[in-house]
């Protein structure tokens, strides 16, 4: 190949890369841009591509105004979302950790059955059972409570996190534990002192995954909560479809605030995850 065609090829590839980058980033940029644009500028026939008349006003509106009459405001929805998500993280890490140790470190009758169940449950969705679960939560007098939502979210994330953590537990060579046991540790102590610290990244990744799932979950929150108990996704939903003319700047500010923690967390773990994915695939 002569240099000219190589150069043309390179140009073509980089052009394709630019298209991918612009398409991926633009909607996110547009959301942030709109959130800093004054309301009268937003509803203008000529969009401004840079927030030249920069304003924080949309954020103030999003933060202070009720989603709709009789519904919660942002700080309360934030507290609800945070509370549910953090409870899910803690409970899920604990439950999934125990289960993943069981299936990665023990041979027992029923192991494969359990693994199949976890895989199937992970695939088959709560969406199908929404009203059955609704009735169940209602029967337990947990309707419109954050505890009810917490249980639903927990059950939704646990199957996948068991599967995910199992990979991390398997990744720690059992020989390390055996060496510690030869040095005089008990089995439990060897696990606690040697294997557990090596699982920390796995637990963090699992926790962040559980957090994001609960934070983003919309359907069950929409079905189970109302009024002052809304979490952030149903808050945003009410906020944008309130009867009066939608305040788009404030809606964009709200979306940005909701997206922010997810994007930060995601970038933080994803590095490790993509790295692990690629390394695993290349090295085997």
């Amino acid at each position: 190949m002569n240099t000219q065609t190589t150069r043309a090829r390179r140009f073509g590839l980089n052009l394709f890369a630019v298209i991918v980058i612009v398409c991926s980033v633009f909607p996110v940029y547009w959301m942030v841009n709109m959130s800093f644009t004054p309301p009268n500028q937003i509803i203008s026939r000529n969009p401004s591509f840079l927030p030249l008349d920069f304003t924080w006003k949309n954020y103030v509106t999003a933060w202070t105004r009720e989603a709709a009459p009789g519904q919660t405001d942002f700080p309360h929805a934030l507290a609800s979302s945070l509370g549910v998500a953090l409870a899910v993280v803690v409970a899920c890490a604990l439950i999934a950790f125990l289960a993943s140790v069981a299936i990665a470190r023990f041979a027992f009758r029923g192991r494969v059955v359990f693994i199949v169940s976890v895989l199937v449950v992970q695939m088959v969705p709560g969406e199908a059972m929404m009203f059955t679960i609704y009735n169940m939560i209602d029967d337990w007098r947990l309707m419109n409570t954050l505890i009810g939502l917490f249980i639903v979210h927990l059950a939704a994330v646990v199957p996948f996190t068991i599967w995910m953590l199992r990979g991390f537990v398997k990744g720690v060579p059992v020989e390390l534990e055996e060496a510690a046991m030869i040095d005089g540790c008990s089995k439990g102590r060897a696990f606690w002192k040697v294997t557990f610290p090596l699982l920390a990244p796995g637990l963090v990744a699992t926790g962040i995954f559980a957090f994001i799932q609960s934070w983003n979950e919309f359907l069950m929150a929409l079905l189970l909560l109302k009024g002052y108990n809304l979490t952030l996704p149903p808050w945003l939903n009410s906020f944008q479809s309130a009867t009066e003319a939608t305040n788009w700047g404030a809606v964009m500010a709200g979306s940005t605030l909701i997206a922010l923690p997810v994007v930060v967390f995601f970038l933080f773990v994803q590095r490790r995850m993509v790295g692990g994915l690629v390394a695993g695939a290349v090295k085997g």
């Binding site: 088959v124 679960i133 945003l236």
Partner: protein, 328 residues
């Protein structure tokens, strides 16, 4: 869709990429000193899944054969068994068949576009220099990380009837005012187009990153050798890359198929922004909009959905299990 976050097992699926057989602690311990220990460790998850998944599944199955309604709940009366009546009603007297057809159609379109674009971008990433590759991955991650509801709100605004960017751009390009006040969401077909754009935008990153990881498994020597033998780029892709990637592609296909049948947030939120729900419902939004009332009928739809998804996930479960058995 951030269930896509990690599928650690999705990429390194090829048995060739596995390390030589290494006992995972399962093999050598023949005497089983603590027979109850694994069950103790499993107890919390068994309890949770039993109460929150198994029990409602059974209840839903039973209710699907009854005429349970909200008034039974209010009055505390028990419903009657009606056999397959709910199923017959759902498939003959409601708009469920149309919803099902729409769901399946959307699923196929989305999955094909996502897998094709994902593969293209995955291939692109193998050919880029380090800096460009990093920029592309960060951009992809940004789209991937956006909460589905935020993403839908933003796209809804971009396609807004009065102040949307798309209408402005089309007016500017054509030099007319034809698109002034053009409503994209009111027409079911253009609603679906906007929906496809949103879902594809969020889903392609997972496919691309996974395929990129999988492409790393294809040995360079084989590619080079075939290149020297005169194979064209397409031939190399078709006869060398694809066979190596079979497991990765299958996994992504199955996962995307299931996820694309389960979309709720994007469809619901877009309907809120001006779509006609009756013309654009897919399975989960249809079920949701049935509302509280005829629980027997919604249970029948739920049972059908579970069976459908289990049938699709069969392949993925079998794949994952095969690996599991290889290790034992």
């Amino acid at each position: 869709m951030s269930a896509t976050l990690t599928e650690p097992d999705a990429a390194p699926r090829s048995p060739k990429a596995r390390p030589p057989h290494r006992p995972t602690g399962v093999g050598p311990r023949k005497k089983k000193p603590l027979p109850w220990a694994p069950w103790l460790l499993l107890a919390p998850s068994l309890l949770l899944l039993g109460v929150m998944v198994l029990y409602p599944t059974i209840v839903m199955f039973i209710q699907s054969f009854t005429n349970l309604e909200i008034k039974n709940k209010m009055l505390g009366t028990s419903p009657d068994f009606v056999g397959f009546e709910n199923y017959i009603e759902v498939f003959t007297e409601s708009d469920f068949p149309a919803v099902l057809a729409r769901s399946l159609g959307l699923m196929v379109v989305l999955t094909v576009i996502i897998v094709a674009l994902g593969m293209l971008i995955g291939l692109l990433m193998t050919k880029l220099s380090r800096g460009w590759r990093l920029a592309v991955s960060i951009a992809l991650l940004l789209a991937w990380a956006m909460p589905p509801l935020s993403a839908t709100v933003v796209f809804g605004w971009i396609f807004d009837t009065d102040y949307g960017l798309v209408n402005w751009a089309l007016n500017t390009i054509t030099g007319t005012q034809d698109f002034r006040g053009h409503s994209w969401l009111i027409d079911p077909w253009s609603f679906m187009m906007v929906l496809v754009i949103i879902v594809v935008w969020q889903s392609v990153p997972f496919a691309a990153v996974t395929f990129y990881a999988g492409l790393g498994q294809v040995p360079d020597e084989v590619l080079e050798a075939s290149g020297l033998d005169g194979a064209s780029a397409w031939q190399r892709f078709r006869f060398i890359v694809l066979p190596y990637m079979r497991n990765v592609i299958t996994a992504v296909l199955v996962l995307e198929t299931i996820w694309n049948l389960r979309i709720f947030t994007q469809v619901y939120a877009l309907q809120q922004q001006g779509g006609l729900a009756s013309e654009t419902n897919i399975l989960p939004t249809y079920l949701f909009r049935q509302g509280l009332g005829e629980f027997g009928v919604t249970a029948a739809i739920g049972v059908f959905m579970v069976i459908l998804l289990m049938a699709i996930s069969y392949f993925n479960v079998r794949n994952s299990l095969k690996e599991e058995e290889e290790e034992l």
